[in-house]
Symmetry: C2
Subunit: 255 residues, 2 copies
């Protein structure tokens, strides 16, 4: 299994604090030592860092954790390989372009028989179930919407339907983002937490680091964090229900 | 204008030495201060680092320059913006997937009227001529070869034809790679250098660093470097001719 971390914010925000906690689980406080990756949206652009090694031992992960990249949306993944060997091409998040937008995707779980689904226009580079599912999902979206649909609700509903179809094949805890939204599906385990005024101090669970968000934020900031397990020990994380599909935009749940 | 740097090698090789010279030209020994990017192939996987800032001042570029990523193919670009604003999505190299392979592309020059060409299946995320040309080229390839052609020569010839068509629109100095090959087109300026036994010491032009390749290599290593301007002061760089198209595979020119 793997762990997921996502962020949606209404102002470019750095995820240093949460990322510092998560990377400890990649080989130190957790067993997810087969790779790690993180995708940052910056305007229409997106940059992805990934590596097929334990995040807790990676100098690059340590560097990124201190580099203060400010982003409105982030997707992060630490991997414990089950399907697909340990390699760069099998390391989440995966990315593709659809309608002139970057789409990025990370997944926790296994999807039995997903490779029987017919792909349309997107082909996996690696051998994971997850990348296959992502390629299938984007191909279905592009078939139904050859150009970007004007209705955001229509798009969300379609992604929900496709997510439910994938979830029938096994475990599908998923984070997917493009410039407009962060989509989440909880098959078994996913928590979220929204930080907004009045801000408090937060203490990481995996490492002795705390941050006083009062000092780091302005009063209008809204930041939602989504994670496989709560990352802090003193904040009120909300569990998502099984088979919950939720969409976040600028820090707020919009679906 | 911009500067390009490429590498093709028969063993995973780090490009630290050449990259250290190039990044100085991004704002220090050169004016290319509007962004930098580098793509490393590692097996079927590819990872790209890019940033819309001056490479000579970038902590990330400095980190990457010391990180010893070993790769058989690298494409690197430092940008002086002419078309398309300074932003992450306009920063080379660009990447897309075709036939389940990562393709990556960097370009120096301007292509007048390239945006009149009809795109087929790939859409630019940013606003540069370069990304548009790349999307057009891949769309043409996919139209002609819906699956990967068995004949490598046929593919090379097709890429040559498409490159020549783009070059008619202006200046087209280009590096493009997928897992199989590194393709290059020289419209006005591109040099290459092959390092192989007997290895010698090399001295960078832009910074006082030298390396003794005898100590860093084994006798069977073959590494070709392609660059807009020679990066070292004491090696025999070969200029490519105008309208030259060349393909490199495992360090050797194969077309």
């Amino acid at each position: 299994m793997c762990e997921l971390l996502g962020m949606s914010a209404n102002v470019p925000t750095d995820i240093q604090f949460s990322f510092s906690g998560l990377i400890k689980r990649g080989g130190e406080t957790g067993v997810h030592s087969d790779g790690w990756g993180i995708a940052f949206f910056e305007g229409k652009g997106c940059r992805v860092f990934h590596e097929p090694t334990a995040s807790s031992k990676s100098k690059l992960a340590e560097f990124i954790g201190q580099y203060q990249i400010k982003s409105t949306q982030v997707i992060c993944h630490i991997r414990k390989a089950n399907r697909g060997r340990v390699s760069l091409e099998n390391t989440h998040p995966f990315t593709r372009e659809l309608w002139g937008q970057v789409w990025t995707f990370a997944h926790n779980g296994q999807l039995k028989g997903v490779k029987n689904k017919v792909l349309k226009g997107y082909t996996p580079i690696g051998t994971t179930d997850s990348e296959y599912a992502f390629c299938w999902l984007l191909g279905e979206l592009r078939e139904q919407f050859p150009t970007k649909p004007r209705s955001k609700i229509k798009l969300m509903k379609r992604i929900e339907t496709l997510s439910r179809e994938l979830a029938e094949l096994g475990v599908f805890n998923m984070l997917m983002a493009h410039v407009d939204n962060l989509y989440t599906y909880c098959s078994t385990k996913l928590w979220h937490l929204t930080r907004q005024a009045p801000f408090e101090e937060a203490q990481l669970s995996d490492i002795d680091i705390s941050v006083d968000f009062k000092k780091e934020t302005s009063i209008t900031d809204i930041v939602t964090i989504i994670a496989t397990e709560p990352l802090t020990s003193n904040e009120k994380w909300q569990p998502m229900s099984k088979a919950d599909f939720a969409v976040f935009h600028l820090g707020k749940q919009v679906y």
